[in-house]
């Protein structure tokens, strides 16, 4: 019964994203924060209606249990969703542009996490002798881009190499209604253990 209420709070706080990896400390913090706001709102609404306040213990217990249950619900939903979205042909087929090390890392990471964004094909503008990466076929070069997008029903495209093509790829994504993604490392943005 309370689920729609929590969902409303989380959506309005922009803390709700079902495609995000749910089992993370950051997500737990989002949920805990949403719960605090939710409990405060509930107590305030109760006070306005009944002119009395909850016991503090009840509020603390309600907040703690809500946090735990909502968090575990998200994790379970995440698992179910990842299986469902990858059963049969993926719901979000992802086209990877590039065969460099960053592309390999991305594909392996998406496959390992059973991400809803399932790589289904790879194209490499420079040409490569590789036939596949982590089981995902390298279909050729960018000259067959539009054919691959149509045949594989691509919904998302991630560019991992050859920055000179960014506008051409972005333009194609806009034209065909796909989501364009760019790997930050292509812009020299590396997230782990950087030192300046």
């Amino acid at each position: 019964m309370t689920t729609p209420g929590w969902l409303f709070v989380m959506i309005t706080m922009r803390n709700f994203a079902l495609t995000r990896r749910q089992a993370s400390l950051r997500n737990f913090a989002y949920i805990a924060y949403a719960t605090v706001i939710g409990m405060a709102g509930f107590a305030l609404a109760f006070y306005f209606l009944k002119e009395t306040l909850f016991s503090r213990l009840l509020l603390l217990m309600g907040g703690a249990l809500s946090t735990i249950f909502v968090f575990f619900w998200h994790i379970i939903f995440d698992r179910v969703q990842r299986i469902a979205l990858r059963t049969g042909y993926p719901t979000y087929p992802l086209l990877v542009i590039g065969t460099n090390r960053e592309a390999v890392r991305l594909i392996e990471s998406l496959e390992r996490a059973r991400s809803p964004f399932a790589p289904v094909a790879i194209l490499d503008g420079k040409g490569t002798s590789l036939k596949e990466i982590a089981g995902i076929p390298v279909l050729g070069k960018l000259n067959i881009l539009e054919d691959v997008v149509r045949q594989k029903k691509i919904t998302h495209l991630v560019q991992c190499d050859q920055l000179e093509h960014s506008f051409n790829l972005l333009s194609l994504c806009t034209k065909l209604g796909m989501t364009y993604l760019l790997l930050p490392s292509l812009l020299g943005i590396i997230q782990q253990r950087e030192h300046v």
Partner: protein, 323 residues
């Protein structure tokens, strides 16, 4: 002697510039790459340009418009896409077989720019298969090319004409940075071996030299120092433009508050207003207004206003306008 220019590829690495044109017809420093090559071939040598069905009309148009030589023939391969093409060596073998060629063949890759003189190259011919080589001085680049391991014919000789001891196509660990330039001279005596090798490996043009060496046929090499470019990528295309154009503007620059630096090529009908361009190639009918562009290549009909771009290649008719 007959010249045979290989122009039957689909130039997939240079997408999107080659989406609607063959790579040998890409403009380089103001004229098609193929025109640069044809101009180097000494007069009197009949030329055959081998291409595919898709680009056949473009080559015919090129021949009609830009070529002053009469002895050029366009040979059309029966290939409509990448998977159907005969392969470089396959195309040569078919031509030799069908035309009953019984003389030396000057074989040239149509997507290479050569700065050296072909007349000088022909002078080095001593009856053995001969290839033109260039020291690229970069082992990483050599990994993508055919490398030549050569030894001097006589002591105290400069590395110009030498014996080839090994030829390695795209080696993982190159033993040499001397690379093949896609320019070969084949005596009539090796053509039967070429036909038979092409049946097994129709796309392995470098492999024929490994085959000659394995057969015990001596292979010679003439090394050049003049610029050579394999126009196979965005970077190579820009590099070749910089080398050929220098610190100049090719085309018709207008004095509309523009700043041009490095090598700038303006195609026919292209307009530039209040912009800064550094190492930029504009194909035909582009309009650039209030932009700062560096190391960019823009295909025909692009319109840019108020944008700053570095290191971009834009597809035909791209429009980027920031108000």
């Amino acid at each position: 002697m007959k010249a045979f220019i290989l122009a039957g590829g689909f130039a997939t690495r240079l997408w999107p510039l080659t989406e609607k044109r063959a790579k040998p017809l890409l403009p380089l420093a103001g004229k098609p790459l193929l025109s640069h090559l044809v101009e180097k071939i000494p007069e009197g040598i009949p030329i055959t340009v081998s291409t595919n069905q898709v680009f056949a009309k473009d080559f015919e148009k090129w021949k009609a418009v830009s070529d002053k030589r009469e002895a050029i023939r366009i040979l059309i391969e029966d290939a409509g896409h990448e998977g159907e093409k005969l392969g470089a060596l396959g195309a040569v073998a078919k031509w030799v077989r069908e035309e009953k060629i019984e003389e030396e063949v000057l074989l040239l890759a149509g997507d290479n720019y050569i700065g050296f003189s072909l007349a000088e190259f022909l002078k080095a011919y001593e009856g053995n298969p001969l290839l033109a080589a260039y020291d690229i001085r970069d082992r990483e680049k050599a990994k993508q090319l055919g490398t030549v391991i050569a030894e001097l014919k006589t002591k105290n000789q400069k590395l110009e004409t030498c014996h080839v001891t090994a030829f390695e196509e795209k080696p993982k660990n190159p033993r040499s940075t001397l690379v093949s330039t896609g320019c070969f001279l084949l005596p009539a005596s090796v053509l039967p071996a070429l036909i038979s090798f092409a049946r097994e490996k129709p796309d392995n043009i470098g492999g024929i030299f490994e085959h000659f060496l394995a057969m015990g046929t001596p292979v010679d090499c003439k090394a050049f120092v003049e610029p050579w470019f394999d126009i196979g990528s965005f970077e190579a295309y820009l590099e070749a433009t910089k080398a050929l154009v220098g610190e100049n503007v090719l085309g018709a620059p207008t004095d509309d508050g523009n700043v041009f630096e490095g090598s700038v090529v303006l195609g026919k009908g292209s307009k530039v207003l209040k912009s800064t361009l550094k190492n930029v190639v504009l194909f035909d009918n582009c309009t650039i207004d209030d932009c700062i562009l560096e190391n960019c290549i823009l295909d025909n009909g692009c319109t840019l206003k108020g944008v700053d771009l570095t290191g971009k290649m834009l597809r035909e008719n791209t429009t980027l306008i920031r108000d």
